[in-house]
Point group: C2
Chain length 493, copies 2
């Protein structure tokens, strides 16, 4: 049943974004605070505020589906969303470096827009909706900036440390009359995004709660004979119906059986269409997006509702790694050391399970853990699911070896960083066969190991906030195997 609770009464008169019903109300003051914090960081970085300098931002535009008459459903660019909360395409904005005043430039529409797309709003509508100081049309950018005597535009320009993509530079007719400063804004803005405000954390907590509930809904409905995409569909339906979340933060990864050992399964080349077979483990990595912000949660459970002995064995190894890391997270701890801690717990678990053997220091120096967890322990989370800033600050250089080379940050943790804790143990036959044929083989109990080749993998992913003293786990999915069995049993009676 869709949720149709009445909207909460909000006594504050300020503008907010929400999807209605009981969905979260994001106050526009959150974005105003983001703007202030970025300006503060810019000035603290040594940039001299000037009445002739503004930070300049271009929001996203609709992207056509090739040369057809349809578009991909628009989603705002993350920096623009962070600073202005604008849900619509085609906007520009400035923040004055001296006064902090914000100017929004809104697209102009011809009369036909009102027939096809909806009401054409006045400039004051946009000013009220987004709580900015000034509003003009996009066509006026050059003249407004000239009238304001602006000469310098600070733009965001840097390279994403995960995708290696460069920022898309803003553009408008007349931009050549201004000095475009590509160097000073990137680091202050990204660093500000790394440390979340309390308002952002409450938003992320809510998205996590909705996404966690949706994962439970998936477990409740799961049974042998369904397909992976039917589980994906349950998740999507839940977050949209109950959370107003029209988008996911990333393509849903819904692998059962051997598919669960493909880390980023679910893409168009491997699209969640396997059948859930008796005895399979299911690995569900799915997170909602709301007002541009992301959740990133992974659950693993047996599709028939009952953990087999070996499923419980591997599950408990991964859960131990996750709990150990979460109990060690606090400001001042380096993420790379948390990754090593998770690897150590996994090694200990695999030794007890008799899958691997040998001296702990040797196991570490031969990178045996990465054969089973060939990815990083976790990554920043915010507007982007792999959020920005992982290799700024005091980051160590990206490691070279399997596993750690996929760490999306190596930084020292600070209060109000939000990061995922997602250890996993996977049995990836081609990787393990290669190890069995090389110098790592002396650490592997080949026969037992091979008996796991059809196992797939287990990942458990929580989203956590680094607090002053430790950690706050935002993810609320059940993690205890008995609790999961109990939830899944209900569907069967």
């Amino acid at each position: 049943e869709p949720q149709t609770k009445r909207p909460r009464v909000d006594l504050a008169s300020s503008a907010f974004y929400s999807q209605g019903l009981s969905t979260f109300r994001v106050p526009m003051s959150m974005h105003a605070a983001n703007r202030s914090r970025v300006l503060k960081a810019l000035l603290e970085s040594g940039f001299l505020a000037s009445e002739r300098s503004v930070m300049f931002f271009q929001g996203g535009a609709e992207i056509p589906h090739y040369d057809t008459d349809t578009h991909n459903l628009f989603q705002q660019e993350s920096n623009f969303m962070y600073l202005f909360g604008v849900e619509e395409p085609g906007f520009f904005a400035t923040i004055h470096t001296l006064t902090g005043e914000t100017t929004l430039f809104v697209p102009h529409f011809e009369e036909d827009y009102a027939i096809w797309m909806g009401k054409i709003h006045s400039l004051s509508h946009w000013q009220t909706k987004y709580e900015v100081d000034h509003v003009f049309f996009v066509g006026e950018i050059k003249s407004v900036l000239s009238r304001q005597n602006i000469s310098e535009l600070l733009v965001v320009y840097g390279q994403n440390s995960d995708s290696h993509a460069f920022s898309i530079l803003p553009n408008f007719p007349g931009i050549e009359d201004f000095t475009v400063n590509k160097t000073d804004l990137y680091a202050p803005l990204v660093e500000t995004r790394v440390i979340k405000s309390e308002q952002e954390i409450e938003l992320l907590a809510w998205i996590n709660k909705i996404s966690s509930e949706a994962h439970v809904a998936v477990m409740e409905s799961c049974h042998v004979g369904m397909t992976e995409f039917q589980l994906e569909s349950i998740f999507l339906h839940y977050i949209y119906t109950n959370g107003g979340c029209r988008h996911v933060a990333y393509t849903c990864i819904c692998g059962a059986g051997e598919n669960s050992a493909v880390l980023h399964y679910g893409h168009a080349g491997n699209p969640n269409k396997g059948v859930l077979c008796d005895g399979n483990i299911a690995l569900m990595d799915m997170g909602a997006k709301y007002h541009g912000y992301a959740a990133d949660i992974t659950c693993s459970f047996p599709v028939n509702g009952m953990f087999s002995e070996r499923q419980r064995l591997i599950y408990n190894i991964v859960r131990d790694a996750q709990l150990t890391v979460e109990s060690h997270i606090r400001p001042g701890v380096r993420w790379l050391s948390m990754h090593r801690l998770a690897e150590e717990r996994i090694l200990i678990g695999l030794i007890s399970a008799n899958i691997i053997k040998g001296d702990m220091e040797e196991l570490k120096s031969h990178n045996i853990a990465a054969l089973f967890m060939p990815h990083g322990l976790g990554h920043f989370l915010g507007l982007d699911v792999h959020d920005v800033g992982g290799y700024l600050g005091d980051a160590h250089q990206r490691p070279q070896e399997l596993g750690a080379k996929s760490l999306r940050t190596t930084r020292t943790l600070l209060p109000n960083m939000v990061i995922t804790v997602e250890p996993g143990v996977y049995f990836i036959p081609f990787l393990l066969e290669k190890a069995l044929a090389g110098p790592q083989s002396r650490f592997l109990n080949a026969e037992i190991l091979r008996s796991f080749f059809d196992f797939g993998g287990i990942r458990l992913e929580d989203d956590v906030v680094v607090t002053e003293t430790g950690v706050r786990v935002l993810t609320t999915v059940p993690r205890d195997p008995d609790q999961i069995q109990e939830i899944m049993r209900k569907n069967r009676v």
Copy 2:
């Protein structure tokens, strides 16, 4: 309950695409037939087949989400899907103009792909999967073409008559060594796409059936107090769970009340978040996509499950226009004349309803119908929801006046064209106020008309095939108001 029927047993040994369970099996022979038909059309257009000429196609690539580490979920480019049925990004292909032989170029992956994305398949896997004559890697395009002694590449290049976007030209290192022919392929290929094969029609019929069932599921669950997006979510969940349809053919339009009078409501600037209020009409324009092919269906119904008198009145006018058009469709009939027929039926209906008045010829010459239906009667449908070719063939030039100017084709109908029949009547206050203030006002009964300003709009959209003798309606949604009430009543008891 998700549908988990067993896959149908298919005695043919040929390759096919399907999402498993009881979803449709699209034989790769459909694409082979498409290739043959395009080659035939090319030769019939006067192009001289040559052992040195191939048709050359570049499939779609993944599109990053701005500069982040995520991508929009890949969907294949329509011409590439039409000819090769390839679901994955990064492919190229050729069809030899003399032999008709097809060569597929598949992307090469590094070993890490197997960890993150899945099994790295052999070339023979792709040959079997897509039933092509030759398979090589993308990096080999230039050397393979040179070895085959190819000198001319025929590429698709033209302008979409709806979006005005130009085809994206293919590119690969070394393309400058070949003659690129941009002129000869576009029209034969597009014309072939306009006339659907029997296999394509059966596929479109199935997508229509799944989409129709999903519309019924929406009606069954609809009640006052829900939001528009909750209806959208029911549709999406239905088509994915039961049809394996991960994509829609276009952004869902789910407007209730006044929102139903916004023709392309539902986009990011107007995102289906209105609350369903007692007395509202709901207009649901939603269609699934499967293996690249589209459905496009609109239903309109009262959110409380009972048509009011005026809702039934307007509904019946629109339904009459739809039925009248469908009974007149046959080969040789010009689509522009069908548009005029729909307008005439709407005028007759609005006269009976006392909303407009005057002599029929005068009403027509003053374009009064377009005040209520300011869009075209329908458009070709196939891979694209607004399918290609509307202004090729014997098309008349696009009309200039409101309504007809939005016709996406004016052509004479031919057997196996697939087209939408989607008359509508909308009360768009700003449009009608303008009319009331001008020379059209003498045809309008102002008081009665104004009483409809909060009505919204009704559209009924069927997808039909032009047959040798008439029409085959693919859409299977209930259209009779009593039948709709009966479906919606069940939810209430």
